[in-house]
């Protein structure tokens, strides 16, 4: 509050020729009830994780479709063009569905764990991302035994930290 006042005072001392170039400062306005409610809805862990899961599912769907289109059938010489096309479409559909499921689970678990951890700690850190990535990687590779779970945990945690740093690199 005091800082912004002194900033505005110093702005008045700058000669008027550069006033037009300075960005216009807007007065502080309190958030409206709609904004507060919208923020409360978005801060809910269930809402956040479901939205993340849906987005992950969409991403996985398109990625699976793309990768399934690149798949070539095994018996390529014996099939006619139409048969190849039908096979390709089925392959794309199958891969996109399985990929969508995997990515949806990944997004849901990651977002839920990160939200819960951040609410518990009341801090915005990279530690939240690390813990969430570890749990997600661990659950996804839990079928391979404890060693695979540890490897998946470490790998996915490192990956999510990298992605987060990448998205915040300009700040």
């Amino acid at each position: 509050m005091a800082a912004s006042n002194s900033e505005n005072d110093s702005k008045n001392e700058i000669p008027s020729s550069s006033e037009a170039e300075q960005p216009q400062f807007q007065a502080i306005r309190m958030p409206t009830m709609e904004e507060i409610r919208a923020q409360e809805v978005w801060n809910n862990c269930a809402v956040r994780s479901v939205v993340s899961g849906v987005m992950g599912g969409g991403l996985g769907f398109f990625m699976g479709m793309f990768l399934g289109a690149l798949d070539n059938p095994i018996m390529q010489d014996e099939m006619t063009g139409r048969q190849q096309f039908v096979y390709n479409v089925k392959q794309m559909g199958r891969r996109s569905l399985s990929s969508a499921k995997a990515f949806a689970v990944m997004g849901l678990v990651f977002s839920a764990v990160e939200c819960v951890v951040e609410k518990a700690r009341a801090k915005h850190d990279t530690t939240n991302t690390v813990v969430a990535g570890c749990v997600t990687g661990g659950t996804m590779s839990a079928r391979g035994g404890p060693k695979a779970a540890c490897a998946g945990c470490a790998g996915f945690a490192a990956f999510s930290v990298l992605i987060e740093k990448f998205f915040d690199r300009h700040t």
């Binding site: 509050m1 923020q39 951040e118 609410k119 009341a122 801090k123």
Partner: protein, 85 residues
Amino acid sequence: MAANNTPAGIDKEQAFGMAEAEMEYRVELFNRLTQTCFNKCVDKRYKEPELNMGENTCIDRCVSKYWQVNGIIGQMLSAGGRPPM
């Protein structure tokens, strides 16, 4: 100003002074509350203009605790003259 049509025992000036003191107290409380919880909860390297979830939670807890402590101490001060030490 003459105390002509005011309730018995309370001067107009006195009531005004009390209201002014109360207002000052409230303003001071609010300013100190926001200052304390801001310094405690918000990271000074501003990365985004809105409060993220961790900061929101921290501010909720900070304000709740501050208010509670303020109420307790106010009660203790108003109840007994001597501190129980």
